[in-house]
Symmetry: C2
Subunit: 253 residues, 2 copies
DNA sequence: TAGTGGTCTAGACCACCCT
DNA sequence: GGGTGGTCTAGACCACTAA
């Protein structure tokens, strides 16, 4: 008919919902405040629950919301900046290290890591598990792969495993001179064990930081660190990082 | 009854599906190969289409699959490494710059950027739009915010807008000495315009790299670059980055 | 035990791409 | 026009948390 048809592209409902909710978060909600439950929200907007959830999932991905099964959906605080791969060229376990060692075992690493580690596919390496906490919250979980060749004088260590052994292995590693390190960031999803350690559900989005420590022209250690993508902003380079704030978002009482 | 009950934690179906599909991708599929369509796959695994899609979405998030409406689902090649925030402290638009300028306009930036730019909330700045292509594919889209104070001698430039003006603005910027730069990476989702430029749907996951260029103690420019999270692995620091391969994954003919 | 978010189903229709 | 992935619905049940 003669109706003007400028609506050439009907925006998906969940996309429009996301926009509306974002504006509401910016103007009407405080950090930590609890949103109405999903069934109520869906009814209020006149959509199916699955459609509402699509919008909430995106907002959680962007770090605006936090959802917890059995509890509810809350407004998330701004992401915290965590520094990675600083230019200071330091071995893991050094004096200004934000990590704390949890465990150390001797294991065969995943096949995909054999090549960057320059070892045989079935060769066992020291695997140090570390975790990183910021503002009282777990933010990252790391697996450090250290070929036996990088820590040759480990015979005097008595601890067969555990945090004590982990620290001993890192101490040994620091006896070499670090040549340089290579870093990479990519998107991944949390495995079952990482999810537990990060207090998230399996499959949660994570930022995977891979660091190759190079000494004497060889890969002396390989770190695979998974950071919570919802709560973390990774800063690197000279220092600091840029603070981005959303709307007013008063602090909840 | 007396049935042994070791199945304490029933794994979600989509999680198990994802595992099965991952193994299949590693062993039985080639890069670029087309998977059966979603309805067939769902029927084959005996699940609803929505459940299958949950698994496919995760695999796409991890960069293992590529889905295109109207076309199908294909096996994605390994992510390509793109270097960001290298230690070489260079202005944007310098000689070894991977970007190419598209446009330049004078606009008021989003309110959230007024503070890091150290300008008034309603002050207009030069906004240079640039894009980055790698291996024939668009990988990133950037908005560069440059306060007028950073390019004082712009009067001689005749081009009122467009790529020519963008290049002129960048040339002017390079006359200052760069003190240092601060970088940050976080997870985001593509807006409508970024999605178009990156050849993705709105809401697609992206890695947002924020760079603050500092000269004479002030923020001389602020870059917000969004990289396709599905196809990119960001490398930074000394150089290179770590190559991680999945399974055999022969190249498709 | 009540209420929350997480998983799952079996449909339907739409937007897009190719031929 | 036929086939693909993208969106949406209206239900159901489950796993978890807290009172």
């Amino acid at each position: 008919m003669g109706t003007t048809q400028l609506e050439t592209v009907p925006e998906p409902k969940y996309w429009h919902l996301k926009t509306v909710l974002t504006e509401a978060l910016d103007s009407e909600f405080s950090v930590g405040e609890i949103l109405p439950n999903e069934r109520d929200l869906a009814a209020r907007f006149g959509v199916a629950r699955a459609t509402l959830r699509q919008a909430l999932e995106q907002l959680e991905l962007e770090g605006r919301l936090q959802r917890r099964r059995g509890v509810g959906t809350t407004v998330a605080p701004p992401r915290m900046g965590v520094s990675v791969g600083s230019e200071q060229h330091a071995w893991p376990g050094g004096p200004h290290d934000a990590w704390h060692a949890v465990d150390c075992r001797l294991e065969v690493p995943p096949a995909a890591l054999a090549e960057p580690l320059v070892i045989a596919a079935d060769e066992a390496v020291h695997v140090v598990r570390r975790s990183r906490v910021s503002r009282g919250q777990p933010v990252a979980s790391e697996l450090l792969y250290i070929p036996a060749a990088s820590v040759p004088d480990l015979s005097g260590i008595d601890a067969p495993s555990g945090a004590a052994r982990a620290r001993a292995v890192l101490r040994e590693l620091q006896r070499m001179e670090l040549e340089r390190q290579e870093n990479a960031v990519e998107l991944g999803s949390a495995g079952a064990d990482e999810a537990r350690e990060l207090d998230r559900l399996p499959g949660a989005p994570v930022l995977v930081v891979t660091t190759r420590y190079i000494a004497r022209g060889r890969t002396a250690a390989l770190s695979v660190a998974t950071y919570r993508a919802d709560t973390c902003r990774l800063t690197f380079g000279d220092s600091g990082g840029v603070e981005i704030h959303h709307g007013p978002e008063r602090q909840a009482s």
